[in-house]
Symmetry: C2
Subunit: 241 residues, 2 copies
């Protein structure tokens, strides 16, 4: 369960068992419901066991911005373990199962087991790296590249968790939400999506995306997987840590 999240770091069997021994409470949440809202003071750390969720903020003018898509196995809020007040909301996209871990036992575990602390730091740093890439995506790429990039990132992250059915996936969000993730209007998202299809980069029926030309899609997306810091690939040195 928490094992998923720490999958990038090599933990000893002892450490793994200690994580498994954490007290957890499972609960189901429906699409549209909020796990946390901005300004909340949470008392536990949650892990997304199954389903999808998004991190989002709302501007004073009322528009929404999605900053991350959470996939099964993601630890949703170490934030709340260390920071007092949530600076963003987390909304459920699809019917999900959440595991809540009370604050104190987890804090105590981190205190006793440095390897787990290191794994948490590692995980948080990767999250920051992905956020940096989102800033680039939204700040400096045109609509077409932005959307292609989100699709690429999502596919690769799913694949890395073993959740991707070969050549495509079911996008867990509406075109409006895709717009909120890319800083675009839903109308424009739609046009770009059809553009990508017209040019033979993707096939699509409603939310099901198939990669018709993965190479070309990556190209227009300006996508490289380095920022995801996935094991394997060019990062064998990481094992040395």
């Amino acid at each position: 369960m928490l094992r998923d999240l720490l999958s990038h770091s090599a933990l000893s069997e002892d450490d793994r068992q200690a994580v498994r021994d954490l007290p957890t409470r499972l609960r189901k949440l429906d699409p549209g419901s909020y796990l946390i809202r901005e300004g909340d003071v949470p008392t536990h750390c949650s892990v997304l066991v199954s389903g999808f969720a998004i991190r989002l903020k709302v501007t004073g003018a009322g528009s929404r911005q999605i900053m991350a898509v959470c996939i099964p196995g993601d630890a949703i809020d170490f934030q709340n373990l260390f920071l007092g007040i949530s600076d963003h909301a987390i909304q459920i996209l699809t019917r999900s199962v959440i595991a809540d871990i009370p604050r104190e036992p987890l804090q105590e575990l981190l205190f006793r087991r440095p390897a787990i602390s290191a794994a948490v730091i590692h995980s948080t740093l990767i999250e920051a790296s992905i956020l940096r890439e989102w800033v680039v995506n939204v700040g400096r790429r045109d609509a077409r590249s932005r959307i292609a990039h989100v699709l690429c990132e999502f596919a690769v992250r799913l694949e890395a968790r073993g959740l991707a059915p070969h050549g495509g996936f079911e996008l867990p969000m509406t075109q409006e939400q895709l717009g909120d993730a890319t800083g675009l209007t839903p109308i424009h998202v739609n046009r770009v999506l059809r553009g990508l299809q017209a040019d033979g980069l993707i096939n699509r029926q409603r939310r099901n995306i198939q990669f018709a030309d993965w190479r070309a899609l990556q190209e227009t997306a300006d996508f490289t997987r380095r920022y995801l810091h996935l094991p394997g690939e060019d990062e064998i040195l990481l094992a040395a840590s």
Copy 2:
């Protein structure tokens, strides 16, 4: 030195001393030089002792995006302690002094002292929070708000470190770099800047910014300091951690 960076967490005197005892090597860097480039494999962790720096990435199309401005006292790359390859570059803005800490002693320190690990997690989480706000800024605010927001954030962060001369500051970057931080053209940055001045929100001569109407500036920036997770204010609970 490292004390600055850990200032949000309460560390015991022992822990503080252990940080001070870390071996460091100081060096000076000139504006425009790179501390790290994307793709580098660094062997130490650096702290910005004095001066300013930026985190940036370059897209395939060649445009630059700045994702963060580093101010004196910032630990620049815990990334490199845990992640193998740098996913972004760090460029020096003003003549700076950098303290390099070799990887191993710091890793070992984190392993031995859980309170310091916790402080690092805390610091990294705040960095992530700031990145989320940047995604919102660049994704969902218009040019005027974006620039005002960057100015507000910078002022508040400086002030929190005790580096802000009352009602204004010296912006350590060109209008072009301000554009790279906000996803705008330098030309447009210039017009917005004059617009802010014309409306009496700021006064400005070259890079010196004075806040003529701080309240109104915050308003148009849609700025709230919560995401900076500064001590004081609404976050007294944080002391409980």
